[in-house]
Subunit: 404 residues, 2 copies
Amino acid sequence: MTPLPGTLVVGQSGGPTAVINASLAGVIQEAHRHAAVTGIYGMRHGIEGLLAGDLIDLGAEPPDAVELLKRTPSAALGSGRYKLSDDDYARLLGILRRYDVRYFCYIGGNDSADTSHRLAALAAGERYELRVVGIPKTVDNDLVATDHCPGYPSVARWLALSVRDAGLDTEAIGVVDTVKIVETMGRDTGWITAATALARTHDGAAPHLIYLPERPLRRATFLADVARVHRALGHVVIAVCEGQKDEHGRYLSASTAAVDVDRFGHPQLGGAAAVLCAWVSGELGLKARFDKPGTIQRVGAALASPVDVEEAWRVGQAAVAHAAAGASGQMVILEREGNAPYRSRTALVPLEQVANRIRPVPDEFIAAAGNDVTPAFVEYAAPLLGGPLPPYARLRGQAVPPRH
Amino acid sequence: MTPLPGTLVVGQSGGPTAVINASLAGVIQEAHRHAAVTGIYGMRHGIEGLLAGDLIDLGAEPPDAVELLKRTPSAALGSGRYKLSDDDYARLLGILRRYDVRYFCYIGGNDSADTSHRLAALAAGERYELRVVGIPKTVDNDLVATDHCPGYPSVARWLALSVRDAGLDTEAIGVVDTVKIVETMGRDTGWITAATALARTHDGAAPHLIYLPERPLRRATFLADVARVHRALGHVVIAVCEGQKDEHGRYLSASTAAVDVDRFGHPQLGGAAAVLCAWVSGELGLKARFDKPGTIQRVGAALASPVDVEEAWRVGQAAVAHAAAGASGQMVILEREGNAPYRSRTALVPLEQVANRIRPVPDEFIAAAGNDVTPAFVEYAAPLLGGPLPPYARLRGQAVPPRH
């Protein structure tokens, strides 16, 4: 294929993560290797930046700053959630021509894949040669086609480490603070909540109950679950998703406040754990509290998975390499090659296949009772952490014989 | 002083931390060095374990498990918050005699110091030679006499790292999620909330507003603060304490307390941050969300301060060394010897001086406007992190010239 001279634009979209900048580093570093790429431009705050001509010259960034992006959380370009209008699409083509853009890389989730897909179709329709390659990113892990999404391994590791510690806390002080509910992120799928299962490194370890939004949470069943674990252990640690729904299909959080809706029509959630705490204290008379780490779990770079950092870089690098080689209308995905040792490779799928679709946690990863994950899920997710959790002391606890 | 043969009991009290087990390791390892200590017993769940004869033989724990306690969060003995009755005190002396206890080490806050102090006084009154030495522990950092409390440097480091990342998140996605409120622990003092200031590693960095419970939070002033930062930066990150009170002296969370205690299972709305989010969205029309890391900040061992781990071990070790040398009725404290490099030494103060007293954040650490800390606070707290936060990339962001 003849080289296509032109500039490359890259943007970051949706919720920032611990590793979305590693993908950006991969894009920039690979772009520097291709003579046909005559400029490397970053869109500020996603596609809105392109529309506004708010672009920064990434080609002019010092190599050491680009290298450091691999370990820098959040979205260095700024992120956004702008939904393009038909008008915007019509304008975009003129803007692309003006900046001589031939390579378009958009790092994001299924909304971004839709944006990229439509832009590719528009350019093709206008016979403007534009190579559009999507780069997957979402802590939600809900993109189809890919084994997993960059960002997910790091939120999984963050939760594995944090819920293990929070679980030991409840184990120690459960005589006072008996029930702890950890509310995780996750819009409509339970991948993030499920990852709390990776916190279990000893018998009886937290979390003792894990509810995924793929199953309704029934109040009576939930309370029976909590009572049962409390009888057995004297304390209970529960993981629940911010997007958990009840048996009537309503968000648990919906009972606390009017549900806010963002510009894509996604409800903005919060409050599931608070509702469950009220149920537990009101019905079971147990003291309940919740931890809601919120955005900290999403961007906490100090606990990022080394697998994730490397793969996030690699999907960015691969996107540019594929675009330079002629690919368009595609998204980079990860395919797992093995678990021992863990290995993955990149591949491409049509953006259309990814756009606006979500991948729920499959049935084989959800325990039949709907209050836990299966060993198959742990087998899937554990290798993504990049190694075992550090060992902790467990005392033998030999009893001192009573004296009278 | 003639050696006093007898057993040593040690207990952990109050909220578990990332490093309270390091203090336990210090106690056990030092106790093994003294021939007069004829047994090393751990109270399960604090003083309640001693009352119930629920003791474990720490002398029988393998040395490698004891060593690993230094890096194991939560309270390995189990913790508690039991307040002794006069009856309990009367019974305790008999129990001490029965187990031949001559050394009593209690790791905790000012409640524990009170328990230890009363026990020491009781034993002295009965002419039973008991060497009681308290070991400081509280993330709240509110004990008097000591420079700081083991546990605090680690929660400070956890928040510095986490709020820095959460702040970058809002900086990147503030066009959508404009206001973020991080609710920290801390009931009546603002030491923990203040530590979020250590997250600032660049101009304009989060948190932009820090409210401490030492000052009332006035609704009108708060909203004006938020509006001002929003005008300047386009986004706002706020740190607030779970125990923050309003200008009427009421806990912010109290405005939802009526719902909280409702027996009909009506949901509680959450705490201080949820109330502030409602103010911001209701009055300023800005989208607001909150992160409430809860117990995860208290016990997150992966981000523990190396200074804290070492000092927590050292106060445990010193307690036993001092008790073996004849001290009683004392608590170990930390005295700062220097900041460059940071150095501290242990010393003793009477338990009576610490018992039931709290140390608020002093005026010189609180900005006059009541919405931030002072540089003097940062100078005090930063050395406790054990080193600078890891560097992050900051893009130069050279604008691409507009094309027409």
